[in-house]
Symmetry: C2
Subunit: 152 residues, 2 copies
């Protein structure tokens, strides 16, 4: 199971790198059902005018309209701890298992996910922290602008 989690997290990291190439924030996600990737996505806040296309949202949207029974078999891999919006979407569709790359750079409402019976696994991977950290160091203005939009 751990081996598979690493494999799918690598795919989420590939998505984060695609975002980086598009001059976007390097956060990526993949949705896996029955050992098959059925959705992929990355943060698109800087690529266009979106306020809702975080990596997890873009990934869930890319999977198309699944049946309830399918969402309930999925694991969502994301390079960063899911925010309030993404956590709400995970709870709405009852995705039962989340594997995150890290929660040091930002931490979403993890207790809210746990209260709603979502299993959370934090792989605490240096490479997920580093890819985001490099972006923040290179583009503090872009990062701070996004942070200002959501923080007090």
């Amino acid at each position: 199971m751990i081996k598979k989690d690493h494999l799918y997290m690598e795919e989420a990291i590939k998505e984060a790198k695609i975002s980086l190439k598009e001059n976007g924030i390097p956060i990526g996600a993949v949705l896996v059902e029955n050992n098959k990737i059925i959705g992929k996505g990355h943060n698109k806040l800087l690529q266009g005018e979106s306020s809702i296309l975080h990596a997890e949202m873009d990934c869930i949207e890319s999977a198309g309209k699944l049946k309830g029974v399918d969402y309930k078999k999925c694991t969502l891999y994301t390079t960063l701890s899911p925010c309030e919006m993404c956590s709400g979407t995970i709870i709405l569709y009852k995705i039962p298992r989340i594997v995150m790359g890290e929660n040091e750079t930002l931490k979403g409402p993890e207790e809210y996910l746990i209260e709603n019976n979502v299993e959370l696994i934090n792989m605490d991977l240096e490479k997920c922290k580093m890819i985001l950290k490099s972006f923040i160091i290179k583009h503090p203005d872009l990062w701070n602008e996004e942070m200002e939009r959501v923080h007090d």
Copy 2:
């Protein structure tokens, strides 16, 4: 204030009716800042392949990338109580005031919004219930399919 709330809710209802004309689920929303409508949207789950474009999400997306200080001045009008995804988005962007048309047909996590300092007003309007009820009676298959995607 009540008069203005009715005025903006009428605009949200217009959005619900636009969805109906597109053979979509009649739920609408508008985002208002300083007595000006800055975003409009409606549920688009049936119009395309979206799983994330609920009325509130479509509305927030249509407003473009606002600054944090602007979201904090907004009221979001929606014809139906916001679901987990939309509530999470409201909390992420710290939209401080939600006016809903009704919460009888479906009720979202209103306590979670209140705990996060969101002011909630339920106008409990028959016309909001009726527009959605008429759709459900006419298209029980479409409605039940959407319900099956998110319910146990």
